[in-house]
């Protein structure tokens, strides 16, 4: 779904650091997306089911449920399995990246990250749909 089609695509951002959450949400809203925010994995799962966003940006290390598990549960649910997921991770070992892809993530961005790059990746994924 693209912004040109009229309706604003909905992006879920789940991140437990309030500063980063606010910054990412601001950046994506400025780029024309509707952003819904979660501060832990449980809230992220609830919002995914309730709002069925067009894309989810998930921090890996979140309280209650990790980004990996949220991704896995998104993939296991018929209603949400098509939602693309970008993982935001401070863990950059090859095994961690592989674990993210095995869980079903479409892309990952490592911290420290560039907000511009994140926006471009979101645009690229949503533009393909």
């Amino acid at each position: 779904m693209s912004i040109e089609s009229g309706k604003r695509p909905v992006v879920l951002v789940a991140e437990d650091d309030p500063d980063i959450l606010q910054l990412v949400a601001f950046r994506l809203e400025r780029a024309g997306y509707e952003v819904i925010q979660a501060t832990d994995g449980e809230e992220a799962l609830r919002l995914v089911t309730e709002r069925q966003p067009d894309l989810a940006v998930l921090d890996v290390m979140m309280p209650k449920v990790t980004g990996y598990d949220v991704t896995r549960q998104i993939r296991e649910n018929q209603a949400t399995t098509q939602i693309p997921v970008i993982l935001l991770t401070a863990r950059v070992q090859e095994a961690d990246v592989a674990r993210g892809f095995e869980a079903g993530a479409d892309d990952y961005i490592k911290k420290p990250f560039s907000p511009q790059e994140l926006r471009s990746r979101v645009q690229a994924i949503l533009g393909r749909r």
């Binding site: 650091d17 309030p18 500063d19 980063i20 606010q22 910054l23 601001f26 950046r27 400025r30 911290k111 420290p112 990250f113 560039s114 907000p115 511009q116 790059e117």
Partner: protein, 337 residues
């Protein structure tokens, strides 16, 4: 006597009561300050984002307290960001005079103030602080030196590589702090590390070789391979480990020779590296080492052989042959399916 005891107990009760009052008052003040800080953070959140986004921010309008809160928010953000966002944060700190203030604080007589300044300068992201942070690596206080190394890493200061490595070899920095700083500098640290691979100090060479193994690329294999013939066993062991990490298939022959090194821990690393580079020609040598070498080296050789050719290891242990290490390797193979 009774009156004296009575007075004493009264005095004790009064002192206790006063202590409780002081603690309660202190707690109230701390909670109030915390709430005020949270309020300020909420209020200034968008200002911090405006700085990161490159929007105009008039920091002259901010009170002293708000400036401090904004600075701490930006320092926190800068740790998670890179690219133009961190450059904008650095410019903000430079233009508001905070970088200069913290640089001055590096000369403070109080060690805790110098350490705090060294730490803050890394978060501010201004390259202007690099020369003073390099100097702070020689501070008499270890907390200041550690904070300076961490900040030089955060600032990706490639010219800090040699000073950090030498601070480590002179026991001025712990290995964990120096290693983390250099890994944070990332591939930009490689030119400095490559020069240090041939440094006069064996400990510096060992550290440099190890980090080249973590950060390096295929073109580093030749130089690391030369260190496999170093006079220091520590360097040879680190070189073998680095070659394994670099996946240096071309180094297999030299690694097989290193399996015969007179120092056991070099043989251990050579065996692991042969397993990592996937040299199937080494299986026979590894099987022999697994049966005849000393404990750690034999164990490493057995595991490497199992990684390269599980069937050969299984076959070597048939009929109760092969020794304990090969049998352990087979047990692990069966357990992992």
């Amino acid at each position: 006597m009774i009156a004296l005891l009575l007075w004493c107990s009264l005095a004790l009760a009064a002192a206790g009561g006063l202590g409780v009052c002081v603690l309660a008052a202190r707690r109230t003040v701390v909670a109030w300050k915390g709430r005020r800080r949270l309020d300020a953070e909420g209020r200034l959140g968008m200002t911090a984002i405006a700085v990161v986004e490159g929007d105009a921010v008039d920091n002259a309008c901010l009170s002293e307290a708000d400036s401090r809160v904004l600075a701490s928010q930006l320092r926190r953000l800068s740790g998670s960001l890179r690219g133009t966002s961190t450059e904008r944060i650095a410019r903000f700190f430079e233009s508001s005079g905070l970088v200069e203030r913290e640089i001055r604080a590096l000369k403070s007589l109080r060690a805790w103030r110098r350490a705090k300044a060294a730490f803050a300068l890394g978060d501010m992201g201004s390259p202007d602080a690099v020369p003073e942070l390099l100097e702070a690596l020689r501070d008499p206080d270890s907390a200041v030196r550690g904070a300076a190394a961490r900040s030089l890493g955060r600032l990706r200061a490639a010219n800090a590589v040699a000073p950090i490595v030498f601070a480590l070899t002179e026991r001025q920095l712990p290995v964990s702090v120096a290693g983390q700083a250099l890994l944070t500098i990332g591939p930009d640290a490689l030119p400095g590390l490559r020069e240090l691979e041939t440094a006069g100090d064996a400990e510096a060479r060992a550290f440099a070789v190890e980090l080249v193994g973590l950060l390096g690329e295929a073109s580093d294999v030749g130089r690391v391979l030369e260190r496999l013939r170093d006079s220091s066993a520590e360097v040879r062991a680190k070189a073998a480990r680095a070659l394994g990490r670099l996946g240096a298939e071309g180094a297999a022959e030299e690694l097989r020779i290193a399996l015969q090194d007179r120092i056991p821990f070099v043989r251990v690393q050579a065996a692991h590296a042969l397993g990592a580079v996937g040299d199937r020609d080494a299986v026979e040598d590894l099987l022999e080492a697994a049966c005849s070498d000393t404990f750690e080296s034999a164990r490493a050789a057995a595991h490497a052989a199992a990684r390269l050719d599980p069937e050969a290891v299984r076959s070597a242990t048939r009929g109760g042959n092969g020794g304990v290490h090969l049998r352990e390797a087979v047990d692990l193979l069966e357990a992992s399916g």
